[in-house]
């Protein structure tokens, strides 16, 4: 019924066509509307790089690696927990790296994105998505899921037995693994986990930044993601750990901002009402921090100007937040480095799948706090990674 693993896969040109047919056929099935022509997600695939000229190493190296690639096509699945700006940044960076590798070594890619639309946290959809990648005999799958450790590892295990390699990205696997204290890699069925910040997620860095800016003094409120999310819990732990190192700093209140801007705004307004004298607002992601920034404007309070005012700090590193930093609306954000995450994912994949390298179980991407001092290069870097028209 299904093709053998390793047999020549369906050529990459027919594949999008099939997607179109699937969608078209369902459409035809449904309304007898042959609306499939509207679905065109890449019939013009050519993998144009963003940079145009990639660094392929020396001539010998290039030809040797090209020989090792043997013109193979890697079939890669990409499963973000939701569709959002952050994951799009990661995906586009990955595309750029993919096209560079293609240009240098002749490797071909087949890329399929599947993400849950409304069901980021429960894992029900993630399970279905990953299983489909297994059924379709993908070579490797990148997963970021908010579903629990136990849920996902079990599927990875089953998939690995079928010959699919799993890579987690933007993950907190190291922290979630129940055996983290003695052996963080125990029971993992992933090839590698590409994340950032070894212990405390972005929260710790944000806390440190605040402490430094405020010189260890001040009251802080935090706006958290939806309560019940592990992500929220970890970032909160990290943040609180950082703050607890400074006795002059206290977290006086927190509220639910649901990871979205308007709820963040509402939560910040309520917190500002109750605690008008705070020095800083920590938004657990950038959107909520931007909501808090608006609340500061609405309350007629002053933003941080380097010496006084309220500091707002978020975390993500979104291109959409850079202007706010430049205008002092958002004091800072923890850039969890979507650019290098995307590139590292592809590099790790290439190293392991093509070159047969053993890769680290936990790979950590450098992170940086972006504020007005470094916003220019940070934005330029992200923008460059997004500029490529490459699509897979």
């Amino acid at each position: 019924m299904s093709q053998e693993n390793g047999s020549p896969p369906v050529s990459s040109r027919t594949r999008p066509l099939r997607r179109a047919i699937a969608l078209g056929a369902s459409a035809a099935l449904l309304v007898a509307l042959a609306a499939c022509s509207t679905v065109d997600d890449g019939s013009s695939i050519s993998g144009k790089g963003a940079s145009g000229s990639a660094n392929c190493g020396s001539g010998d190296e290039q030809s040797a690696i090209t020989a090792a690639v043997k013109g193979r096509t890697l079939k890669v699945g990409f499963a973000p927990p939701i569709l959002s700006e952050f994951y799009t940044q990661v995906e586009k960076s990955a595309f750029n790296r993919m096209s560079e590798l293609e240009e240098c070594y002749g490797i071909k890619w087949e890329w399929a994105r599947q993400g849950a639309l409304n069901d980021a946290h429960s894992g029900v959809e993630a399970v279905g998505i990953v299983e489909n990648f297994i059924s379709n005999k993908f070579d490797a799958v990148f997963v970021c899921s908010a579903a629990a450790h136990a849920t996902m590892q079990e599927i990875y295990k089953a998939g690995s037995e079928k010959g699919v390699d799993f890579y987690q990205f933007n993950s907190t696997e190291e922290l979630e693994n129940p055996s983290q204290a003695d052996d963080p890699t125990a029971g993992l069925s992933t090839v590698s986990n590409i994340g950032y910040d070894d212990r405390w997620q972005s929260g710790y860095i944000a806390g440190q930044y605040l402490a430094k800016a405020l010189q260890g003094e001040g009251q802080i409120v935090q706006i958290l993601g939806p309560s019940g999310s592990d992500w929220t819990k970890l970032r909160q732990q990290g943040f609180e750990a950082a703050i607890s190192e400074f006795p002059g700093m206290t977290i006086v209140g927190s509220a639910d901002g649901g990871y979205v801007r308007d709820k963040g705004l509402t939560a910040a307004q309520d917190l500002l009402t109750k605690f008008p004298d705070i020095a800083a607002i920590y938004g657990e992601n950038e959107d909520m921090a931007l909501g808090a920034s608006q609340a500061i404007d609405l309350a007629g309070l002053k933003h941080w100007d380097g010496t006084k005012g309220i500091i707002t700090i978020g975390a993500d590193g979104l291109i959409s937040g850079m202007d706010s930093i430049r205008q002092d609306k958002l004091s800072a954000t923890v850039d969890v480095n979507s650019v290098d995450m995307g590139r590292t994912m592809i590099d790790t994949l290439f190293q392991h799948e093509i070159l047969g390298m053993t890769v680290a179980q936990f790979i950590q991407i450098p992170t940086v706090v972006i504020d007005k001092t470094n916003v220019d290069w940070a934005e330029a870097k992200i923008a460059a990674s997004q500029a490529g028209s490459g699509k897979y």
């Binding site: 700006e85 799009t88 209140g253 939560a267 309520d270 109750k274 931007l290």
Partner: protein
Amino acid sequence: MPSRPRSAGQVTRNAWERLLVDPTLGVISLLLIFALIAAFALPVFYAGNNIYNLVGTIITVMILSIGMTVVLISGGIDLSVGAVMALCAGVAATLIKMGAPLFLAFIAAILVGIAAGLVNGLLITRVGLPDFIATLAMMGFASGLLYIATQGVPVIGYMTDEYYVIGGLRPLFGPVTFPILVAVILALVVGWVLASTKLGTHFFAVGSNALAARQSGIPVRWVKTQAYVLSGTCAAIAGIILAGRNNNVPADLGTGYEIQAISAAIIGGASLMGGRGRVFGAVLGALTLALAINIINLAGVPSSYQKIVMGVILILAVIANYLSELARGATLRRQAKRLSSIAA
């Protein structure tokens, strides 16, 4: 006068009795109780501009619930408001970003809202789908369109100085913000339509007894369709405002808003059976919801209890409305008795 009770007889009523027969009594009392609790337990409730903030927070839900009330009165339900709101916000934002003047972008957004309402109405009245299903499909369709257009990346870079005013992030004059003004005008206009125009009467007629409406020559299907168009328009207006308040339009902007809008309308006394509801009630219902979250945040209640509180409020509102209905019945009977004794 938009808020005139529909059943005002010529019986003279003192203020107390007028309150007792007011259909909004239930939600008013609920709101009062909350405000009292807040006042006693949380002095900070009246601090600064908390109440002003509270109103700013709830404007979008309020506008949605005004449209929802009309749909409920005409005997339907609209689950698509949240998704349509997000789609309209996306349309407005994208057009502005592409350089369109604000008012053109807004007109386009409102046209999209009207179109969505029209499709809802036609699916229900011409194709004959149950309202629940038709608007559920519209919810998927509208949010799908936004996802396709944005690929999940929020629309940004459309904010202008005017848009900050429109979003309510900067006041219009004095303490009045543009969204508050819009909400008030919308409430007055829709309230007036319901109470004093032919169309308003027809909304009630269609929701209360569709057969009688048809036999009286009312174009039942068209009236129902208009209710959905009105709801779609409200969704578009809410979307335009929310896009300004939010500064970006993520694809999931509208998630959960339909439930909030329905809850607000029901808390405000609208009936799912049709033929009953008031704009004023919807406005108060939306305020009640906002107040609940406000109290949770101010009191420092762990936000994990937020949803439980929402559920409990719904039940309380139903009970409050039921009690107010009892009070209303008793008062009316008393008056009837008094009237007949006068006659005799």
